[in-house]
């Protein structure tokens, strides 16, 4: 019974209270980055220390936890964080989006619409959307305070000038409740519309940068754009090769060293659920087994 | 008819601070008046202070004493005590000046330099350029020079650009500081004719001309500056 030596969910109660206060402040001011005293966690920065601390602070004994990494439940990062909380909190875990009360995520929002009562916890590497052009933290804070967001459009302008269209495909900046510009973490912009008016509570934790921010349920989230270059999500010209789903985010999977490839759901739970319901894509027959256990993830 | 500009008790003393603060009185108690439609000429030996008087009347030199009431925008204003913005407004509206040397502006062509005073007063650029071209043609400046900056022009060419720039406007008062100094006889005659036209148009002119022929041709009265010499006043 090694877990007994840890406090519930690893962090001590004072730390959890501190983090909850930051979360509450973040909820009260949607999109605003609340500084918090990020702790050393038993994993390196970049492995989700911010998200883990947020999850630890809100986790209760009755919660059911799902952890995904780029949509998949079975990648190293997701598996190790799930195991971590199983050990230090003894809570139930799941891979099923609908069954989870808390979903910690790296770089994706599940395809299944989230429901009231669910919490989505994002792992955030760089929370400051203005950092690209303004290196001074004192200045970016002032810019947020005074709503000076012209710089965000400078970044999008550069995109169009260089590529003919807004080439930013992930960490695509959004404006929250018409006030704060927020970095949605490196999720594909495909997921941006899911943040808008979500039924679920969305929490963002950046461990190294020591920031927490939040989107309470039913929050207005608008992706920045130009009138003549409106925001658009990625489109895929084919359905998922395994479950045939359309209008979902697909990962490219290399099949061999002769240029063979397939496009499959990035959300592994969504894909498996659909297949269990009898949906089939063009490659489902022969590749089903191999592809669910040996996924090659597109690394962003 | 009342004068358009009066000089009364005007004095100029230079204080040379770099030479122990010695005082150099140049003009004392100068007095005369300028009338519309006439040309007055400042006379007297070189160094008598003709140029200083002209510069004080343009606000370029500060007057050490006295007053220079000038009719400006329907009111009488003392140029000697006017603030800088008023002086600039008087220069824009009332008093024009043709200096001996052209202060060149880098990269600006002769035609534009001549047209500039009109553009500054709000005239359409094309119309201003047309008038500038007429004047330069009249002063026999070769057309191939019009688009070039005058920095490399000869003295006479620069002076003609300068004259054209000074004559293009319709200032009620025009000050002329040896405008014909570097000109040949033909161009001097053109300038004499232009001065006569200004007089007919009702302008009051005040000039310094070292060329006796030109002076005799244009002067209605000659103001002897030696009578304003400070030592004479002291005597």
């Amino acid at each position: 019974m090694t877990a007994a030596t840890y406090n519930f969910a690893y962090l001590d109660e004072q730390t959890k209270r501190m983090i909850r206060r930051a979360i509450l402040k973040g909820i009260a001011i949607p999109g605003y980055q609340v500084p918090f005293a990020s702790r050393e966690m038993p994993m390196p920065y970049g492995w989700g220390t911010g998200g883990v601390q947020v999850t630890a602070a809100i986790l209760g004994p009755d919660d059911v936890l799902k952890v995904i990494d780029q949509g998949a439940d079975d990648t190293t990062n997701a598996v190790s964080i799930r195991k971590f909380f199983q050990r230090v909190a003894g809570i139930e875990t799941t891979t099923n989006t609908a069954d989870a009360t808390i979903i910690q995520t790296r770089h994706r929002i599940p395809e299944t619409p989230l429901q009231e009562g669910q919490v989505l916890v994002y792992q955030v590497p760089i929370p400051e959307p203005l950092r690209f052009l303004e290196p001074r933290e004192t200045e970016t804070r002032k810019m947020h305070a005074l709503e000076e967001y012209g710089l965000m459009h400078v970044k999008l302008y550069e995109d169009i000038a260089r590529n003919g269209h807004i080439a930013t495909t992930y960490a695509y900046p959004v404006k929250v409740e018409g006030r704060y510009v927020m970095d949605p973490s490196p999720t594909p912009k495909f997921d941006n519309p899911k943040m808008h008016m979500s039924e679920a509570l969305q929490l963002f934790g950046a461990g190294r940068e020591k920031r927490i921010y939040a989107l309470p349920p039913h929050t207005d989230v608008v992706s920045l754009d130009f009138e003549d270059h409106p925001f658009e999500v990625q489109r895929f010209d084919r359905p998922c090769a395994l479950c045939g789903a359309e209008q979902v985010y697909l990962d490219e999977v290399v099949l061999d060293d002769r240029g063979g490839r397939m496009f499959v759901c990035s959300d592994s739970d969504h894909c498996e659920t659909r297949q269990a319901e009898g949906f089939r894509g063009e490659l489902a027959g022969e590749k089903l087994d191999a592809s669910t256990s040996d996924r090659t993830e597109e690394v962003i | 008819m009342s004068p358009v500009l009066t000089v009364s008790g005007l004095a100029k003393t230079f204080t040379m601070h770099l030479r122990g603060g010695i005082e150099l009185p140049v003009i004392a108690n100068a007095g005369f008046a300028l009338h519309a439609g006439t040309c007055a000429v400042l006379g007297g030996r070189s160094g008598a202070g003709k140029s200083s008087i002209l510069k004080m009347l343009y606000g370029n030199y500060a007057a050490s004493g006295g007053s220079i009431p000038v009719r400006h925008r329907g009111a009488e204003i003392d140029l000697a005590s006017a603030d800088p913005r008023t002086v600039l407004d008087i220069r824009r509206e009332t008093i024009g000046y043709v200096s001996q040397f052209l202060r060149v502006v880098p990269r600006v062509g002769a035609l534009d330099i001549v047209a500039e005073p009109l553009v500054e007063r709000g005239m359409d650029r094309d119309e201003a350029a047309r008038r500038a071209a007429d004047l330069l043609a009249r002063l026999n400046l070769p057309e191939r020079l019009w688009s070039l900056p005058p920095a490399t022009f000869s003295g006479g060419e620069q002076q003609r650009v300068n004259i054209a720039r000074g004559f293009i406007t319709e200032h009620p008062i025009l000050l002329l500081d040896e405008p014909t100094a570097s000109l040949d006889a033909a161009n001097r005659a053109v300038v004499v004719e232009m001065i006569a036209e200004k007089k007919r148009a009702g302008a009051a002119l005040l000039g310094i001309f070292h060329d006796t022929d030109v002076r005799n041709a244009v002067a209605d009265i000659v103001i002897d500056v030696t009578s304003f010499a400070p030592d004479k006043k002291a005597a």
């Binding site: 052009l133 003549d228 270059h229 | 770099l18 502006v105």
Partner: protein, 259 residues
Amino acid sequence: MDRDLPLLSVRSVTKSYGARIGCADVSFDVWPGEVVAIVGESGSGKTTLLNCISTRLEPTAGTVSYRMRDGEMRDLYRLGEAERRFLLRTDWGFVHQNPADGLRMTVSAGANVGERLMAVGQRHYGNIRATATDWLGRVEIGADRIDDQPRSFSGGMRQRLQIARNLVTAPRLVFMDEPTGGLDVSVQARLLDLLRGLVHDLGLAVIIVTHDLAVARLLSHRMIVMKDGRVVEHGLTDRLLDDPQAPYTQLLVSSILQV
């Protein structure tokens, strides 16, 4: 806007660093469309004064008021920070001696010019780009350089880009700190000529700090001469240069090299 009312009023502005004086008891007004040069040697306090009147450095004493676009005269140091910063990026410009201080060196020339437009809410890429192209043309930068970063520009081009970036929102007042400093003479002449034209065409009020009397003569209507933090003489530029009264101004004018 009434052009007979001052745009900026500086009253008894003093900046002291303990016992040391940056500038002392400086008062003057600037009217719309007027170019005022502040001249003096290094350490004369001209840059301190420029910073004090452009809200970059709070004076120890005195007031600086500005006529806002609604015609109201406001004490600049009583404006909220948001108002002040808005003023700085819309109604004002600031041209730094070193263009790198006033430009974003890692974004394109077009974005450098367009930034202020985006900051005031323009959201049409095509329009922003068209305006940027137009402004690059006005400062004699080819349209084919619009997507290049200023890092690849010469010093003169960078300075012209900085000017375009400042003027794109049609400011009424522009501060310039030795805008031609550090440039080759021929490049200086081109820049001065360009500035002269822009100032005239746009009816800009400009406060320009320079140690170069030729720059002051070419650009300014009025001049303020400073020494040891104090104004020693002020007045019409050509009168100050041709008939200087104060001992220090006479020294300054007589020190100019003639060519």
